[in-house]
Symmetry: C2
Subunit: 334 residues, 2 copies
C-alpha cells in the first residue's frame, strides 16, 4: 500500500500552477504513541492556500519546498493510539494533500458527529468555509433585518454561505460574482436578491447603484481590489466591512495601490476589520451547530465542484483562481 502525496516542487510565482507541484509515492507513516492514522477521503482547495504556498505579504509560515501541501481534509481514522479516537471515526483537520496522514490530536479540528450530511460538507458549508462565513457575518457585518449586505465572490464557497446567512438574518443580499452563470447561481441557488457581474464590462458603480439603491450597510469582502473600491463608494453611515480574503488582488509584492479608504470610513463612520477564522476555534462548535440546523431546515445550501483523484490536485489552485469551479472545489481521493 502506497501513500500518494502532493509535494511542493517550486515556490510559486503568482497563481500556483500544476508545474509547482509533484506527485510522490510515499509510504504509510508510522503511528507514534498518542497519534492517529487518518485515511483522507476528500481534500480541500482554498484561496488561502496561495498564501500558505509563500505568496509575499502573507501571515503564516510558508510550506517548505519538498513538503506535503498543507490543506484541510476530511478522512477516516484507520488506526489510533489515542484514546479519544477510534477506527471508523470521521475527522476534519489539516491532513494535507495526501492519502494517509499520521497526526497528533491537535491537528484534528473536530470529529464529525453523525452521518447526516455528506462527508464533503465538512470542508465547505459545514467546514472552515461555512464557519468563516458565519463568524464574519455575525461578529463583524452584524446585519439587521432590512439592511443591505454585499458579498464579493458571492457564488464562492465562503461568499455563498455569507450571503445566505445574511439573508437568514433578514438582510437584502447583493452578490458580486464573475460572469452570468455565477450571477445566476447567486440568485437561483443561493436566493440573493441581486447580483452584480464584475466581468460584464459595465461600471461596477452603476451596477451597484441599481442593485443596492439604498446603499450598502455591510460588506463581506473576499476580494479586496477594485471591486471593493467600488463597494466603498456606496457605504451607508455606520457600515461594517469584514475582510475575509483578497482574491481580487494579483499580488502584494510590490504592494499594490488603490483608492484611499480613510475618507470613506470617516464620512460614513464605517468600520473595516480583518479576521482569520482559525483565531476563533472556541466558536467552531456554536457555528457548526447553527450552520447544521440551517442546512437541515433547507435555508442554507451549497454546491460542490469535485475533481476526482489526487492527481488532479496540482492544477486545482489555478483552477480556483481562474474561476473555473462552480461551487466549493474539492478533490476526492481515489
Amino acid at each position: 500500500l502506497k501513500n500518494r502525496q502532493v509535494i511542493l516542487r517550486a515556490r510559486p510565482v503568482g497563481i500556483p500552477q500544476a508545474s509547482d507541484f509533484e506527485l510522490r509515492d510515499g509510504s504509510i507513516p508510522d503511528v507514534a504513541h498518542d497519534q492517529i492514522l487518518v485515511r483522507n477521503r476528500v481534500l480541500s482547495v482554498d484561496p488561502a492556500m496561495r498564501i500558505w504556498l509563500g505568496m509575499p505579504g502573507g501571515y503564516v509560515e510558508p510550506i517548505a519546498l519538498g513538503s506535503v501541501i498543507r490543506s484541510f481534509a476530511v478522512g477516516e481514522v484507520v488506526r489510533s493510539r489515542h484514546s479519544d479516537f477510534l477506527p471508523g471515526d470521521k475527522v476534519v483537520g489539516l491532513f494535507g494533500w495526501q492519502e494517509f496522514a499520521a497526526v497528533d490530536p491537535k491537528s484534528i479540528l473536530w470529529k464529525i458527529p453523525s452521518e447526516e450530511f455528506p462527508l464533503s460538507y465538512s470542508l465547505g458549508v459545514l467546514g472552515i468555509n461555512g464557519i468563516a462565513a458565519y463568524l464574519g457575518m455575525t461578529l463583524i457585518c452584524r446585519p439587521r433585518a432590512g439592511e443591505t449586505v454585499v458579498v464579493s465572490t458571492g457564488a464562492g464557497a465562503v461568499g455563498s454561505g455569507a450571503g445566505q446567512i445574511a439573508g437568514i438574518l433578514g438582510a437584502r443580499v447583493v452578490g458580486i460574482a464573475g460572469g452570468p452563470e455565477k450571477c445566476r447561481r447567486c440568485m437561483e441557488d443561493f436566493g440573493f436578491h441581486a447580483a452584480v457581474d464584475y466581468k460584464a464590462g459595465a461600471s461596477i458603480d452603476d451596477a451597484l447603484s441599481q442593485a443596492a439603491p439604498g446603499g450598502v450597510d455591510a460588506y463581506f469582502d473576499n476580494t479586496a481590489g477594485e471591486i471593493s473600491d467600488a463597494v466603498r463608494r456606496h457605504l451607508n453611515v455606520g457600515a461594517r466591512i469584514a475582510l475575509c480574503g483578497t482574491s481580487g488582488v494579483a499580488g502584494w509584492s510590490p504592494w499594490p495601490h488603490g483608492e484611499r479608504v480613510e475618507r470613506h470610513l470617516l464620512n460614513k463612520r464605517a468600520l473595516m476589520q480583518g479576521f482569520v477564522v482559525t483565531d476563533h476555534v472556541e466558536r467552531y462548535s456554536e457555528a457548526l451547530e447553527r450552520l447544521g440546523q440551517w442546512v437541515r431546515d433547507g435555508n442554507l445550501t451549497c454546491s460542490e465542484h469535485v475533481l476526482r483523484g489526487i492527481d488532479r490536485a496540482p492544477e486545482a489552485i489555478a483552477y480556483l483562481y481562474e474561476g473555473r469551479n462552480h461551487g466549493k472545489l474539492l478533490i476526492e481521493v481515489g
Copy 2:
C-alpha cells in the same frame, strides 16, 4: 455697537486662504422667543472647517457663500429669552466666526460649569478636541497597559490629547509630528515616549522601527495619507485604528490613491474605524468630567496658540494647515 463677522466670499480651492473670506460689519441680531444672545470671547480654528467650507469628499452641507463661517466658539450670554440660560452664563457651541450670535438652545453644546479653567480650554482640551481624543482613544483604540499607541499630528490639539490619554491609560506613546520643534513638544510638553518627525527627510518606516520596535497596537489617525501607510506596515496582530481626520491628504477630488490596506488589516486581524465626535453627544458629559479631572490632577496638559482679533480669522485655516501654529489655534475676539 457693531457685530464683526467673517463671511465666506469664495468657495476655497485647496486649503482655504484669507482671500476666500471677507470681514463684514453686521448688526447685533434680534433675539427671538426662546433664543439666547451670545457674545463670543474665543473662536475655534479646526482642521474639519476645511470640509465645512466645501472641500469635495466631505460629509456635511457646506457653508453657503455669503454666510458667516461655521465654527465652534466660547462666549458669554448677554441676553436670554430662554429659561435655561441667564446673562453671564459661559457657553460653548457652534456660534460662528462673529462677535455676537443669537442662537437656539440646540446650538449650545454645554454650559461651562465653573471658572476653574481658562475659557479657551472649552475649545481645546476640555472641548470638542479633547472629547474627540477621549472618544477615539477609549471607544476605538482601547489601549491596554504596556501597549504601543501611535498618534499622528501628535503635537496638535486632538493628537496631543489623544497621546496623553493613551499615556494615562498605561500605553507607550509615539507621536508623529512635522519638524523638530513639534517633536520636542510631543516629548517634553506631552510626555510621549518617542516622536517621529515626518518632515525629517528620512524614512518614516525606519523612524517607526526605532520608535516602536515592538510594533503598533493602536493608531489614532489624524492625517491619513503616506504617514498612515507607513504606520500600517508596523501594526501588531489585533491592532485598532481610529480615523479622526485626513489632514495629510491634499484633497479628495480626484480621489487619491495609496497603499491598499486590506492585506494589512487581514494579516493583523486589525480594525479601522472612522468616527465623528458630534455623533456622540450623549457621551460629552462623561468625557468632560474625566478630562477635567486629568487636567486638575496635572496629567493632561495643553498648549494654545492665540491670534488676537477677529481680523486674524481669515488667515487662520491656512495657518493651521501650514503647521505654523504651536498648540490649539484660537482667535481671541477683540
